[in-house]
Symmetry: C2
Subunit: 202 residues, 2 copies
DNA sequence: GATACCATGTAAAGCGTTACATGATTGG
DNA sequence: CCAATCATGTAACGCTTTACATGGTATC
């Protein structure tokens, strides 16, 4: 049950609508946690039902309304309970490594395409995360500024430091995956130039 | 739909029972792909129904039987189709980074415990993967030997090289996560020694 | 005969993806 | 008035986890 905790985490910064949460999960946050709006709106309703968030219904224009969710005392307690609790390490599922292990069943072209996409994906991710790290460092992130504004000065250092720790982790991951993709592409070049046959080739 | 392809991948090495597949997914393979038996047995039945695997029912002792699954022509085609197809990159969900980003809501003790578990988990994973890489290099893996035995000599280099590529990726990932966990533990030590308060502290 | 291992299932509940669906507001 | 954006939902389907469940075989 972590979508709930990801939503509570966002709401500890400031109250917002489901739509704003959807936007965050579509943006740079998507590389840490993401969910479609079809999952977010019902979960917010359940969190409201379970008394973890309060809702303010605010008019929007003449006829429309929007629902602004804010975390309440019970929600903050639940979030803190979750964050203090040890999250166990479960078996992973890495479809890209699974695929790479069986590239002899593919073709050089298809294998290269997959590895190139891997490289592109993590190159984009790296750029985004480096930018985010810099933005956090210079307090250019509005959500972070909101968060800092409502917490005492002496907590600021920890708040910023922990966010930076996460982003440095993502940066390290992106660099590692880029390196791995390059290694894969180099291996494919080497094997093809040696004329090593693949089973998937026509 | 990747459990199906993970199972097909295993069955390209040799025919086996659901129980043997369960064992593999519980062992060192678990760090690349894993599934509980409650997912594996029904999926094998569906694959049988869909004509991707053949089944041989073999007696076991006096009264018991076992079902040995082998991949057939259609199954191999489906596996090759999947491996040639580009797997898109979807938004990730990393609960450990999400948690780390909000450690100011935790306590030093709980945050340290989580990071220590992270370190332990990936240290174990690193040991396992280094061993597997070495075993593959020296053809000490029975599944790999079965696989090589049924393929022509000229494909052997690629088969071994792609498996090693995957394991090197897992090793790089484990090292990266170990490094990150150490960074996190160091940060926690530094903040605590400076007396920076956390919101979750009693 | 007890224990560990072999072997295979079902079922409920939860989580995630994809598609379908609707309507208001804002700015050009 | 048209397009982009704001805003919020439902539904079907598939995958994953956890729990419940059963019985044979091999070895000491």
């Amino acid at each position: 049950m972590s979508l709930r905790h990801a939503l509570l985490a966002m709401l500890t910064a400031e109250p917002m609508t489901g739509y704003e949460l959807v936007k965050y999960f579509d943006g740079s946050v998507a590389y840490v946690w993401s969910a479609p709006h079809s999952q977010i709106y019902p979960e917010l309703r359940r969190m409201e039902r379970d008394g973890l968030v309060d809702v303010e219904i605010v008019p929007r224009g003449e006829h429309a309304k929007k629902r602004i969710y804010s975390i309440n005392e019970a929600g903050l307690e639940e979030f803190q309970r979750w964050i203090r609790e040890l999250t166990p390490y479960q078996p992973e599922r890495d479809v890209y490594r699974l695929k790479a292990a069986h590239f002899e069943q593919s073709t050089y072209e298809a294998a290269r395409r997959q590895m190139q996409e891997h490289l592109n994906h993590y190159t984009r991710a790296l750029q985004i995360w480096k930018q985010v790290l810099d933005d956090v460092d210079n307090r250019r992130v509005s959500l972070l500024r909101e968060r800092l504004a409502q917490r005492p000065q002496e907590e600021h250092e920890a708040i910023v430091a922990f966010r930076k720790l996460t982003f440095r982790g993502q940066i390290a991951k992106a660099r590692m995956e880029i390196q791995w993709a390059k290694e894969g592409l180099a291996l494919l070049d080497e094997l093809e130039s040696k004329g090593v046959p693949l089973r998937g080739e026509p």
